[in-house]
């Protein structure tokens, strides 16, 4: 019997396999690395990794062979006293053919599954995929759900178990949308001019997420000063929770009026709530109510949209349910009332280059807001209540 077919041999093989897997797992770590590519939550990401591991195995084998040969050479063929002059060999055709053909064959083993994956990951999405438009800006992410009428920024929700189709474009320069736990990245390009009624050409990502959780990503194409602070979060939830989230993101229906889904997409010029709006967030205290009034009568509404208010600006990120997001300023600071105050007072101090104006310094051609500290406290308190 060969050494590997005895029971001891089988145990040894199992142990070796376990040791390799344990080392490999230790090598790649777990999900404490919040943006790791090694623990995908979608079949898309898993397929990419399978392609990678196949390539990795073959290329590591080649590397090991090369390292071993070099190790042998530097030891065995060191000059030694008394060693005669080496044989002056000029080449060997058989060897040349061998070490050309063998790598060529290995390249085929790598290329075939790779090309298959290229095509399978770029197929058209299924008919009932959830479509989300992703628009990159300097330096934040806009998300629009055409069918649901939702507009949000920097954090977006998706249901697990359903195909997601992201349509990716940019409003300014080239960015790149990357959610490593879900899969590969795609650049977002500025939209070309299109014929009337035609949707602009876009890039696409198609995937199904199979686990709930909040997953962090960030822009991965250099896009200017604050490229390093352009984070995004995907929140994958059960389908029922997703539906509830959609409802919470829309204007509350007018009393006796249309259901939320029929509301005009937030941000369109014609949209305006049909009835006196109700703030459906936390029980308003007077500070938060002050903040809301200030927000709606300041320059804030020139750039920002907030559901259930008259604020319908589109130059900056939507602030609907702002405080449900983990960060202020797309990754500039953790979401706290104090950081919201800092952001409003002096956004450059948290994110140099941002086009949000502060209280004393303008930005990107927009004049300073001139808000007082008291006013900032109130506005921040109200924003922080939008959970």
């Amino acid at each position: 019997m060969s050494p590997t077919t005895t029971s001891r041999g089988r145990a040894a093989r199992a142990f070796a396999l376990a040791a390799v897997l344990a080392t490999a797992t230790a090598c790649v770590g777990g999900t404490e690395y919040t943006q790791t590519t090694f623990h995908p939550v979608s079949e898309y990401g898993s397929l990419l990794n399978r392609v990678f591991y196949n390539t990795f195995a073959w290329t590591m084998a080649i590397l090991v062979v090369v390292l071993a040969l070099v190790a042998v050479v530097v030891v065995r063929f060191r000059e030694r006293p008394g060693r005669s002059h080496p044989r002056q060999i000029h080449g060997n055709t058989a060897l040349e053919i061998a070490w050309t053909l063998i790598p060529a064959v290995i390249v085929t083993f790598i290329a075939v599954p790779t090309v298959q994956a290229v095509f399978s990951t770029q197929r058209t999405p299924v008919a009932d995929a959830l479509e989300i438009e992703v628009i990159g800006h300097q330096w934040w992410w806009e998300f629009r759900y055409p069918a649901q009428g939702v507009l949000t920024a920097n954090q977006f929700h998706i249901p697990i178990g359903r195909e997601i189709h992201l349509r990716l474009t940019s409003a300014d320069v080239i960015h790149s949308f990357w959610l490593p736990r879900i899969g590969g990245k795609r650049d977002v390009m500025p939209q070309p001019r299109t014929a009337e009624g035609e949707r602009p050409r876009a890039n696409h990502l198609v995937f199904v997420v199979d686990s709930t959780g909040r997953f962090r990503g960030q822009c991965a194409e250099f896009c200017g000063e604050a490229h390093g602070i352009m984070a995004l979060y995907a929140v994958a939830v059960q389908p029922a929770e997703f539906d509830a989230w959609v409802t919470s993101m829309l204007d509350a229906p007018a009393p006796g009026g249309a259901p939320p889904g029929a509301a005009a997409p937030a941000g369109s010029a014609a949209a305006a709530p049909a009835a006196p709006v109700q703030d459906t967030t936390v029980q308003p205290s007077s500070l938060e109510e002050q903040g809301r009034q200030l927000f709606l009568t300041s320059s804030c509404i020139a750039c920002h949209t907030v559901a259930n208010t008259t604020a319908r600006g589109v130059l900056g990120p939507s602030l609907t349910r702002l405080a449900s997001r983990p960060t202020v300023g797309a990754g500039a600071a953790p979401m706290t009332a104090e950081n919201l105050e800092r952001w409003i007072r002096d956004p450059q101090s948290l994110k140099a280059g941002t086009i949000m104006p502060g209280t004393t310094t303008g930005a990107g051609g927009v004049p300073p807001t001139g808000l007082t500290d008291e006013q900032i406290r109130a506005i921040a308190a109200w924003l922080y209540s939008l959970k």
Binding site: L69, W99, V115, V118, K185
Partner: protein, 602 residues
């Protein structure tokens, strides 16, 4: 410096020039080679400082050591400096000094054009770096993607410095390429058929063809951006029918052959050093020639592997996946041939050989991550992350830098007449090698664990502080290694052991000259009948080379190249004035320089 003074001392005329005048007017390929080399090493220090500042900033998450804007200038200039002011010039430094000697010539085909190339390189590089003095260094990345580089999104002077300076540097490179092609075709010693040329000269030949074909593509791309920024054209503006992707295609169509411009000279150096210190001829000479040429050729067909995330569609993605994997095959063949050269040899581990062997190993490590990049679906995880930074630093520092250091230790005795210290050499080698791996090995993990590149900081949420700190520590160690090399270079100029003509017992014609060579290189140009003349026909070759002086005419020095170079760079620099006729002053100056040059007696 000692070498130039040694040269100057050989001039028999009564009137000796000052060192500065000598350098400004020299057309001697050896002095121009030293000028290129010293300048490139100075820029290596500058580019290295830029890197160290970046690594200090990244050593901790959410650090505020430097601002975002300054960081963006640093990473842009680090890349631009290392590629255009270090990598290419250091190769040209070796081409200049070594190729004429290796083919048994007295100089290059166009000595004054040679000087012009150097001075345009120097003035253009100084122009680009002057931008730091006004705090507006280029900040769009070394790759300068449109439409970030448009006037709308980059309103300052930063990108103007970038396009204008690189246009000038490109002209210098193209001139150099033409010069070396003409030299290698026309000025070989009798008997030196193409397939008898040393491998280093062959790689210089192939590289020069890539230079004269790839740099014009970059020139066109730079012109498009220049037109957009200065005269309101809309090549990259989508709302006007343009497309930023056009820039990427043009840039990478240049950019990928560019990396072969960077690596093939180093491959040539390895093909000289490894046989010398193994005491065996290069294994598979013809295959090494053909694989080098093939890499240069196929290198034109892989460019969009830098663009897998841009959404070109599955057919294009598949094509570039396959072509990129194919180019790995001739590259791998070279690795095996170097190992086979050493196999059965009697290896002397001089510092040069240590660098060469480490180069082979480190480059291979970089090569395998390159194959991983080629698998385009997973490339979408790898691209624009530190995994790519790891890959190209492994191939560039492993292949190019370690190869160049091998060449430095190998040819220093020929250039200066003295040997570098072997003990300091070994310290410098191990320090630099340890630093290289400590810096860039962790970056494979940093990238696949989620850190993108070109970011001035990163969130502590990523949990990558430890790995980043390790990379920073490696950077410091590498800097010490480079410092030790520089100390060795400087000290050995005066304290090094006198080298003699052929301290390594090498095989090729450059070793059949004095150390350093006399101005005219050979007393009488020998005829060769083999690839290893000093191993197979030494006595006859040396008798000729050192024997009775034949009659010949050496090109005289000239100040027209340096003056004309001022005009060329001024033409581009004067665009910054935004006054339409100012660049014409530079054109006029250049024209005067060329006319006087043409009528100068030679």
């Amino acid at each position: 410096m000692a070498t130039i003074e040694a040269h100057a001392a050989q001039v028999p005329s009564a009137r000796r020039k000052s060192l500065l005048w000598d350098l400004l007017t020299t057309v001697d390929h050896k002095k121009i080679g030293i000028l290129y080399g010293v300048t490139a090493l100075v820029f290596l220090v500058l580019g290295g400082l830029e890197a160290l500042l970046m690594r200090i900033q990244l050593s901790r998450p959410e650090n505020d050591f430097i601002s975002a804007d300054f960081y963006n200038q640093l990473f842009t200039m680090h890349g631009t400096t290392m590629v255009f002011m270090v990598g290419m010039p250091i190769a040209v430094a070796f081409f200049n000094f070594i190729v004429p000697l290796q083919i048994g010539a007295r100089d290059v085909a166009f000595p004054r054009l040679n000087a012009l190339s150097y001075w345009i390189f120097l003035f253009g590089s100084l122009f680009m770096n002057a931008s730091f003095l006004i705090g507006q260094a280029p900040n769009g990345g070394w790759f300068g993607y449109a439409n970030l580089t448009s006037k709308q999104f980059s309103p300052g002077l930063n990108i103007d410095f970038w396009v204008l300076g690189l246009q000038a540097l490109g002209i210098a490179s193209i001139m150099g390429g033409v010069n070396f092609i003409a030299t290698i075709i026309n000025l070989r010693a009798p008997g030196m058929r193409l397939m008898r040329m040393p491998l280093f000269t062959w790689m210089a030949f192939v590289t020069s063809f890539i230079i004269i074909t790839a740099l014009p593509v970059f020139a066109v791309a730079l012109f498009l951006v220049t037109f957009d920024r200065f005269w309101g054209t809309l090549f990259f503006t989508t709302m006007a029918g343009g497309d930023p992707i056009l820039w990427q295609h043009l840039f990478w169509l240049f950019g990928h052959p560019e990396v072969y411009i960077l690596i093939l000279p180093a491959f040539g150096i390895l093909s000289e050093v490894i046989p010398t210190f193994s005491r065996k001829p290069l294994f598979g000479y013809a295959v090494m020639v053909y694989s080098g040429a093939l890499i240069g050729l196929i290198g034109w067909g892989v460019w969009a592997h830098h663009m897998f995330a841009t959404g070109m569609g599955p057919v294009a993605d598949s094509y570039f996946t396959i072509s990129t994997m194919i180019i790995a095959i001739p590259t791998g063949v070279k690795i095996f041939n170097w190992i086979a050269t050493m196999w059965g040899g009697s290896i002397r581990f001089t510092t040069a050989m240590l660098f060469a062997v480490a180069s082979v190993v480190t480059f291979t490590m970089g090569g395998v991550s390159g194959v991983m990049h080629a698998t385009s679906p997973h490339n979408l995880q790898q691209t624009d992350t530190y995994f790519v930074v790891a890959h190209f630093h492994y191939v560039l520092l492993g292949g190019l830098v370690l190869g160049v250091f091998a060449g430095l230790y190998h040819w220093y005795p020929k250039i200066t007449g003295r040997l570098m210290s072997e003990s300091l050499g070994k310290w410098s080698f191990w320090t630099y090698l340890a630093g290289l791996h400590l810096t860039f090995l962790p970056m494979h993990w940093i990238g696949l664990l989620g850190m993108p590149r070109r970011v001035f900081t990163y969130s502590s949420e990523l949990n990558l502080a430890g790995l980043n700190m390790a990379a920073t520590a490696g950077g410091v160690l590498s800097a010490i290694g480079v410092l030790l090399i520089f100390i060795n270079v400087a000290r050995s100029l005066r304290k090094g052991e006198v080298a003699g003509r052929n301290p390594w017992g090498a095989a090729t014609l450059e070793w059949a000259t004095e150390s350093p060579p006399v101005e005219h290189n050979f007393q009488c140009i020998p005829t060769v009948h083999s690839r290893e003349p000093l191993w197979l026909e030494r006595e006859r070759v040396e008798d000729t080379a050192f024997g009775e002086r034949e009659s010949f005419h050496m090109p005289p020095s000239s100040y027209w190249p340096v003056l004309t170079a001022v005009g060329v760079v001024a033409t581009f620099a004067l665009f910054l004035t935004q006054v339409w006729w100012m660049p014409l002053v530079g054109v006029a100056w250049t024209g005067l320089g060329i006319i006087n040059w043409a009528y100068e007696p030679v």
